[in-house]
C-alpha cells in the first residue's frame, strides 16, 4: 500500500467539483453521471484510458473514476501514466471493476488507485466515496 498516490483534491479551482468517468460501457457512464450530477459534480466522460489522458491534458479534475477493462488502454495503464505526470500525480482516483480478487485490488493500488470498488456499486456508496475523495466531505463530519 506504500505506493498509493498521495491525495490532492480540488485541483480544478472551482466550487463545483469536476470528475472524469472512464469506462467503455455507455450505460455505466450514464449511471455514474446521473448519480454524480445529483451529488453536485460537474461530469466529463472518456471511453478508454487514451481518451481519458487526452481529456486530462485539456482540463483539471478533482476526481477520476476508472474501469479496468477497456479497449486500446486499460485502467491500470491509464493510472500508471497519469501518476507519472506532474498534473495527474495527486488527483484522487477510484477504480471500479467487476473483478473482486485480492490480486485485482493490489494491482489497482500499485497502478495508483486510491480506492477500489467492486461493481455493481450502489448510488449512495458511489456518491459518498466520490464526495469524500474529492474533498467535499470529511470523515466524521461535513467539509
Amino acid at each position: 500500500m506504500s505506493n498509493r498516490a498521495t491525495l490532492k483534491p480540488a485541483t480544478s479551482n472551482s466550487a463545483v467539483p469536476h470528475v472524469l468517468i472512464v469506462d467503455d460501457a455507455a450505460t455505466i457512464r450514464m449511471f455514474y453521471r446521473d448519480v454524480l450530477e445529483a451529488s453536485g459534480f460537474d461530469v466529463d466522460e472518456a471511453f478508454n484510458g487514451l481518451e481519458a489522458l487526452e481529456k486530462m491534458a485539456e482540463a483539471s479534475y478533482d476526481l477520476v473514476i476508472v474501469d479496468v477493462n477497456m479497449p486500446r488502454m486499460d485502467g491500470y495503464t491509464f493510472l500508471s501514466r497519469l501518476r507519472c505526470q506532474a498534473e495527474g500525480a495527486g488527483i484522487p482516483a477510484i477504480m471500479i471493476s467487476t473483478e473482486a480478487k485480492d490480486t485485482d485490488r493490489q494491482r489497482a493500488f500499485a497502478a495508483g488507485a486510491n480506492l477500489y470498488l467492486v461493481k455493481p456499486v450502489k448510488p449512495d456508496c458511489l456518491a459518498h466515496h466520490a464526495r469524500l475523495m474529492a474533498g467535499q466531505i470529511m470523515i466524521g463530519g461535513a467539509a
Binding site: 455507455a26 450505460t27 491500470y76 495503464t77 467487476t98 490480486t103 448510488p123
Partner: protein, 201 residues
C-alpha cells in the same frame, strides 16, 4: 488492398528464413521481435509460436503486433490462442485479445465463445460477452438473451444487458424486464435495463 498486403507478407517470409524469424521472436531486441511478428502474420504454421511469445511478451508495441499477426491468421487455432488469453492476468493482453477476436471470422469466434458463457469463472463469462458485444454475428444477441435468463451473477447479466442494448431486438424486452426483477435490489440493473429497453423497443 488485402491482396497486396498478403503478397508483401508472403514475399517477406520467403525472403527471410522462417526459422530465423521464429528465433527472432525470442530476441532480446523488441524491434527484432516486432519485425518477426509482422513477417509471420497470417502464417498458420506460426500461430503457436506467436501465441507462446504473446503470453510472456511485456513490450506493448510487440504485444500489439503479435495480436495483429494472430488476428490476421484466422482459423480455429488462431481464435483458440486468443480465447486462452481471456484468462490472462495482464489486462492489456486480455483486452487486446477481446478487440482482436471481434475482428476475426465471427463464425469461428462464436463457436469458441459460446462455450465460455458457461465458464465457472464469472470474469471469463464477462470477457466472453465483451467479445460478443461487437462480433457482428446474428446469434450474438440470442446468446446474450440466454445469459440474462439464467446466469446467477449480477455483473455477468449486466454485461449481457449492455450487449442487448446494442444488438437486441424488441422481442427481447420481456427478458430484460425479467432480469431486472431477478436483481431488483441492484439499482444499476434497473437503470441498465431501462436504458436498453429505450434503445431497442
Amino acid at each position: 488492398m488485402g491482396l497486396i498486403r498478403s503478397k508483401l507478407v508472403d514475399e517477406g517470409v520467403a525472403a527471410a528464413d522462417s526459422g530465423q524469424l521464429l528465433d527472432d521472436l525470442e530476441s532480446t531486441d523488441p524491434a527484432a521481435r516486432r519485425n518477426a511478428a509482422r513477417l509471420l502474420a497470417g502464417q498458420r504454421d506460426s500461430v503457436d509460436a506467436l501465441a507462446d511469445r504473446l503470453r510472456v511478451e511485456s513490450e506493448p508495441s510487440v504485444v500489439e503486433t503479435l495480436l495483429t499477426a494472430i488476428g490476421r491468421t484466422d482459423g480455429p487455432r488462431a481464435v483458440s490462442a486468443l480465447v486462452d488469453l481471456l484468462r490472462d492476468e495482464d489486462a492489456a493482453r486480455r483486452n487486446g485479445a477481446i478487440e482482436t477476436l471481434q475482428e476475426m471470422d465471427p463464425e469461428v469466434v462464436l463457436q469458441e465463445i459460446a462455450g465460455l458463457l458457461d465458464d465457472p469463472d464469472s470474469d471469463v463469462r464477462i470477457f466472453a460477452l465483451g467479445v460478443l458485444h461487437r462480433l457482428r454475428h446474428p446469434s450474438a444477441a440470442c446468446l446474450a438473451r440466454r445469459v440474462i435468463a439464467s446466469d446467477p451473477h449480477v455483473n455477468v447479466c449486466a454485461a449481457a444487458v449492455e450487449v442487448l442494448a446494442e444488438i437486441g431486438t424488441p422481442d427481447m424486452v420481456a427478458d430484460l424486464e425479467a432480469v431486472a426483477g431477478r436483481f431488483r435490489t441492484e439499482p444499476f440493473m434497473a437503470f441498465a435495463v431501462t436504458a436498453a429497453i429505450k434503445r431497442i423497443a
